[in-house]
Symmetry: none
Subunit: 224 residues, 2 copies
DNA sequence: GTTCCGTCTCAGGTTGATCTCAGTATCGCT
DNA sequence: AGCGATACTGAGATCAACCTGAGACGGAAC
């Protein structure tokens, strides 16, 4: 649903500004203040885009970009560079950044670039999630169980994608509600249960074994 | 065959610099010092890329870009903007520029961007898109369904081309609005729906099966 | 000027996704 | 086994998304 953006900078003025601006645009935002923290957060919750300052304590921005790419991550990266550090910009683009912005920048411009990058990556990044005999193609948004094709509504798709991105791992109800419905509290609704039901119906329509398992009092897991 | 680049700027220092640098890289270079001259030269010899200053006597850069796009020309445009004219940059990207560079810039950087843009656009030219019993010739801009010839207005063409370039893949409304109409927000217009309707009418005029499918809440797909 | 064409807006109708609710089933515990 | 808490299910109401036809508007061609 809403894209997740990781902002990496050690200047609190920048991170505060970006958190506000990006949250206002409807993105969910994570902050890291060092290169190492950035890599960790990126593992915890893989972002859809990274805003990365070049000047960082410890591991610098170029190195972070390199590590991400080396690990096979092709998340779009927007680099922030100091004014006049032209050589850096060029190097940044070569190292795997997808765009850069010169500090100081106008929030409007950052937002425009972020949107453009997300659009581009959304177009190019069609991956196929697989587990057991289930496939989910993020390009066509169609699922398969064995050879059977399964059409999904937007919400069903979001939910299945979330579960399949972390197979064998239990996702709590709080996390699911937040990621799929953007609710940050557990209110008195049972939408999630209803949609789990929809997915189970579709995935087990021909009597196949259950893949979405309930973990009572906690959440759900996708596993055999 | 070396690419032809049109440089539009009224500052002789800039045009001289660019002529030298680009010629050194093996491009053929034309110069225009006003918006009107740019449009004329563009007719005389259609360039493979335009480097366009925003501040121009007479017709300004944004207007030139708009005219080119309105005439159906999708030549890549690299905008030059004065430092700090942030609003212009944003507007530039919205108006149909493909990239921009802030003055003053390093020649190396300009060359890098020019190369990137040319590479991108080269992948996109003169071909015949085919899917199922539909053909779209990007040279003549005419479509066929089976043996029936279908004429398309400029907007219809853009839309169909976008869909046919990625058959079976779901294109989000956001992406479509951006690529075809240059809107970077989802406003309260339903042009896109109207044009989807036009295309469907033309493609299914003789009762053929539907190829443009709606993906509710997401966008559209071109598939059987 | 008139006509034509392409584009876009608007309003009304239709469909399909989403959510709520109430009743039922299941689980884990004593 | 029996109980309370938790999860599932089916049916239907609600609401947003989408489609369509008619027409306004502007620019280009005649």
């Amino acid at each position: 649903m809403k894209a997740h953006i990781l902002v990496v900078d050690d200047d609190p003025r920048i991170t505060d500004l970006l958190r506000r601006v990006l949250a206002y645009e409807g993105y969910s935002v994570a902050i890291a203040v060092s290169g190492n923290e950035a890599l960790n957060r990126s593992l915890e919750r893989p972002p859809d885009l990274v805003v990365l300052d070049i000047m960082l304590p410890g591991l610098n921005g170029l190195e972070v970009a390199q590590r991400l790419r080396a690990a096979g991550d092709n998340v779009p990266i927007l680099m922030l560079t100091a004014r006049d550090a032209v050589a850096d910009r060029v190097k940044g683009l070569e190292t795997g950044a997808d765009d850069y912005l010169v500090k100081p920048f106008a929030p409007d411009e950052l937002v425009a670039r972020v949107k453009a990058l997300l659009r581009r990556s959304q177009e190019e990044r069609h991956e196929v999630l697989r587990y057991a005999d289930v496939e989910l193609d993020t390009g066509t948004r169609v699922a398969h169980r064995g050879t059977r094709e399964i059409e999904l509504s937007p919400t069903e798709y979001e939910l299945l994608q979330l579960l399949m991105k972390r197979p064998r791992q239990v996702l709590t109800r709080e996390i699911i509600l937040d990621r799929v419905w953007g609710m940050d509290f557990e209110g008195s609704s049972n939408v999630m249960e209803v949609y789990i039901g929809y997915l189970r119906n579709k995935l087990e329509a021909e009597g196949e074994p259950r893949l979405i398992h309930t973990v009572r009092g906690v959440g759900y897991v996708f596993k055999e």
